[in-house]
């Protein structure tokens, strides 16, 4: 397998080296014994999109954070246009023209988008050019067609909209080097394609773009060069023209993700969920007047695709008891559960894998073992007559952590805040599914997992389906929806547009529905 070192590429690519990393290493205290980054060489030139490819835990985010000044490095050197620099803070990074768009959002929820942009500006204490900033954001949004309202409060935005805001916030600084950490994770395929056009345009302007992804298709859609990271080590850099999908896949994952998961047909017509004319609170004037209606049979997987902010959050919260239903019925296992407490849903056997895993899925300051029994602590054997049984909790946690391959230093000493997103997701998956619940509401269940873990999760879901669980899958990831669902619906502006059999589903059609195209397949 030919690997080409960056140095031999200089003549071919021409552009000035804007940012260069030499022998960057990083060790985090306590968590893992090995280095997170092991002597990484990396550079980005003016006019190119350089993709960092790697599965979760490969160190992509860490190197981006080091290059933009968010993290310190343990060893190595960073050069900007050939000059060694010492980046001690993100502000240092911005001063050198390096900006980063984070995967996890860095916005103050109570502020508007414009106010969030203002935080990062170095204006004097007496000037507060909010109107100007709003206008400029409007211009940037128009230029890059990142549709947001600068005056909208971040907490009112969907995850996808928040990410657009995050990108705009960084673009405001007119960086020369832009690092984007998995920016497409919340975008529709159309939006992602659009982002690629934007990134290409920015590269054309002479910016250097570092694009981080674990999705193979995106690599070929946008990159000039690609560097593969695997477990903190670089697998070499090469021009995109010199490689192919198979080679990169082998370097990244070692194995491939299946396209479609075969499974026997749904065996029963028994309904596990029957939602009729549901209007979630705060959706009264946004969604359709008649509300949402859909059915989910026992042993069936129903996938809801759609761009964030089209009613997914509201729907999920309603059918887990976290949000009031303004109107309509939620029949679960024969009982009307509308406006029952979250506890009632848990007791009925409704598992919920939430979207906001760090805020809702786990309690970050609490220990791993405590997080494992977050919902089950009430029941025997984990507690008897209101006294907790630590021995049982420990035994159970140990088993669950092992079964779901979560990388956890210690059950009773490790606070879950220090776990990586992927490991947190493994804990949540384990906690929510170990009892084989009759109903599972899963929001982005594999986001942040590596290919191997994704496949394990999909297999787990199919096994649960086989066992009779009804699974409602809400995901931005069309691949996941298409390979896992029995039926697929698309949520757009609070309504279900199109509800098709997964076997006859067409990616293009789903993409059009997600972008608001009218349903051609008739009424759902």
């Amino acid at each position: 397998m030919p690997t080409i070192t960056p140095n031999s590429q200089i003549d071919q690519l021409g552009g000035e080296i804007l940012l260069e990393a030499r022998g960057i290493s990083k060790g985090f205290p306590g968590v893992w014994k090995h280095l997170i980054l092991d002597h990484i060489d990396f550079d980005v030139r003016a006019g190119e999109v350089h993709t960092l490819l790697g599965e979760n835990g490969a160190g992509k985010t860490v190197i981006a954070n080091i290059l933009s000044g968010y993290y310190g490095k343990t060893a190595g050197e960073i050069r900007v246009k050939g000059q060694p620099v010492d980046l001690r803070s993100p502000r240092d990074g911005l001063r050198h023209g390096i900006a980063m768009v984070h995967q996890e959002l860095m916005l103050v929820p109570a502020f508007t988008i414009a106010q969030n942009v203002m935080i990062g500006l170095q204006t004097s204490s007496f000037s507060f050019p909010l109107r100007k900033v709003e206008k400029r954001i409007g211009e940037l949004a128009a230029r890059y067609q990142l549709k947001v309202d600068p005056r909208a409060r971040v907490e009112d935005l969907s995850a996808g909209e928040q990410q657009r805001a995050e990108i705009l916030k960084v673009l405001f600084h007119e960086p020369e080097v832009l690092l984007l950490d998995e920016p497409t994770s919340l975008l529709t395929p159309h939006e992602a394609d659009h982002l690629f056009v934007v990134l290409r345009a920015m590269a054309q302007e002479g910016k250097g773009i570092v694009f981080i992804t674990h999705k193979m298709k995106e690599v070929f859609a946008v990159s000039d060069r690609v560097t593969v990271l695997k477990l903190g080590k670089t697998q070499g850099t090469q021009p995109i023209a010199n490689t192919n999908e198979r080679e990169l896949t082998r370097k990244t994952f070692g194995e491939t993700v299946p396209e479609y998961m075969e499974r026997p047909p749904v065996r029963t017509e028994d309904k596990a969920i029957d939602v009729k004319n549901l209007v979630p609170q705060s959706m009264e004037n946004k969604g359709p007047a008649l509300g949402l209606s859909f059915e989910l049979r026992k042993g069936e997987i129903l996938g809801f695709a759609g761009v964030a902010g089209n009613g997914q959050t509201e729907l999920i919260e309603c059918i887990t008891g976290l949000r009031r239903a303004e109107r309509g019925e939620i029949i679960m296992l024969g009982r009307n559960m509308a406006n029952r407490s979250p506890r009632a849903f848990i007791e009925l056997g409704v598992a919920h894998i939430p979207e906001r895993r760090r805020e809702m899925g786990v309690v970050e300051p609490m220990f791993v073992a405590e997080n494992v029994v977050l919902k089950d602590y009430r029941k025997a054997p984990f507690s008897n007559r209101s006294v907790l049984n630590r021995k049982e909790i420990t035994r159970h946690s140990k088993e669950l952590v092992a079964r779901f391959n979560a990388l956890v230093p210690d059950l009773w000493e490790t606070e879950s805040r220090i776990l990586s997103g992927g490991n947190i997701q493994r804990l949540i998956l384990g906690r929510e599914t170990w009892q084989r619940p009759p109903i599972i509401i899963a929001s982005h269940p594999t986001e942040g997992l590596d290919a191997k873990a994704i496949r394990h999760t999909w297999e787990l879901f199919l096994a649960l389906r086989e066992n009779g669980s009804a699974i409602l899958l809400v995901s931005e990831d069309l691949d996941e929806i298409m390979s896992l669902s029995d039926r697929i619906g698309v949520l757009f502006e609070g309504a279900i547009v199109g509800l098709v059999d997964a076997k006859s589903a067409d990616r293009e059609q789903l993409g059009r529905w997600m972008a608001g195209g009218a349903s051609e397949a008739g009424a759902p």
């Binding site: 290493s25 060790g27 985090f28 205290p29 306590g30 968590v31 280095l35 343990t74 060893a75 887990t320 008891g321 976290l322 407490s341 979250p342 506890r343 849903f345 848990i346 007791e347 919920h352 939430p354 906001r356 805020e359 809702m360 899925g361 786990v362 309690v363 970050e364 300051p365 609490m366 405590e370 977050l374 919902k375 602590y377 009430r378 507690s383 209101s386 006294v387 907790l388 630590r390 230093p409 210690d410 000493e413 490790t414 606070e415 220090i418």
Partner: protein, 357 residues
């Protein structure tokens, strides 16, 4: 250069060492201040920190002082852990003293053995009733419990003044504000003759251990921690927020009320306008000094009590001003918060920074 790095796990040794180190540095700083004031630092420090703990009367006074601080501090730590900011423990303390003491005022000639237990019970209920007001307003109207509980302190203080100057005034008291002196049946039995330490201290000593068990070993404690650490996740896990708000406020109020009635029936022996030297507020510091851990709160309560008693004897025997007590409490708090850093972070020496190949 030294660097700080976040700890991945909590360090038990750091959690215990940092308060010790804080105490040592407080003593050093105090010594320097005494030196600057022209006093012999060794003697002054001895009077301040050691003397209260060497004599039996000193110990007795420390126990009397620490009792209410520990009781209230533990009650508050339930709420603070749950993220419920009850800062009106002073009012709940007074309400407890009024409710419990009221029984002694009405049955001032009673000799019944049931009077004292009944007083303790009504004292607890009184404190709970006072704390129920912010709980009700918070759960019904989402009113801020910080403001409501704080403002109710002044209501309780004025109610007490009204009672002891008006309807409950001692008819044989020559017009001084204050109720009748409680009968023997309504007074905490003394543990030793000639000392002020009473049965209340023994009751107080049991509370931290009960509280520890509740917080660390029961579903109730789990819920408190869960709710305080991540309200969203708590909702996801089916925890009812109103229940936690009620429970944590009632526990805080109940223990403050108990402290109030114990003080009235023990150390003071009657109701009068100034039954509290600000115990309800100082207990907030005690709760945080003790890291909201029941045993920590017990130790913190004792430490703060020592500074009170030491301050008093320093005034008398060393001629130090009263302000030194406040100064010492400030210095302790400062060092403790400063050293708190080391429970979350550790120092990395340059040699360990090098990358191991």
């Amino acid at each position: 250069m030294l660097r700080l790095e976040p700890r991945s796990t909590q360090s038990l040794s750091a959690a215990w060492l940092s308060p010790m180190l804080a105490l040592v540095l407080t003593a050093v700083t105090g010594g320097i201040i005494f030196l600057a004031m022209g006093k012999d630092p060794a003697t002054a420090l001895y009077i301040y920190f050691v003397e209260p703990l060497t004599s039996s009367s000193g110990l007795s006074e420390v126990a009397v002082k620490a009792g209410p601080l520990v009781l209230i501090g533990i009650g508050l730590s339930f709420g603070f852990r749950a993220g419920i900011w009850n800062i009106g423990a002073e009012g709940q303390y007074i309400a407890g003293a009024i409710a419990g003491g009221g029984l002694a005022v009405f049955w001032y000639e009673s000799t019944s053995a049931f009077l004292l237990p009944a007083m303790l019970l009504t004292g607890i209920l009184g404190g709970m009733a006072w704390a129920a007001i912010p709980a009700l307003l918070k759960t019904r109207f989402n009113a801020n419990e910080i403001l409501v509980s704080l403002m109710l302190v002044y209501v309780a203080e004025l109610l007490l003044v009204h009672l002891v100057q008006g309807p409950w005034r001692n008819p044989m008291g020559w017009g001084f504000p204050g109720t009748r002196v409680f009968p023997d049946a309504a007074t905490m039995p003394l543990l030793f003759t000639g000392k002020r330490v009473h049965l209340g201290s023994v009751l107080t000593l049991a509370v931290p251990f009960i509280a520890w068990f509740l917080l660390a070993r029961t579903r109730f404690g789990f819920r408190i921690k869960l709710f305080g650490s991540a309200p969203l996740a708590a909702r996801h896990a089916g925890v009812q927020s109103n229940r936690i708000i009620w429970q944590s406020l009632l526990i805080g109020g109940g223990l403050a009320g108990l402290a109030g009635v114990i003080e009235a029936a023990g150390t003071i022996g009657q109701l009068m306008p100034d039954i509290s030297p600000g115990y309800g507020f100082t207990a907030i510091i005690v709760a945080f000094l003790g890291r909201l851990h029941p045993v920590g709160v017990l130790l913190a309560g004792i430490a703060i009590a020592v500074t009170y008693i030491g301050g008093e004897s320093a005034q008398i025997s060393a001629g130090l001003p009263k302000a030194v007590t406040g100064l010492f409490q400030g210095i302790i708090l400062f060092y403790l918060l400063a050293f708190d850093l080391f429970t979350r972070y550790k120092i990395v020496l340059p040699s360990r920074q090098a990358v191991q190949q």
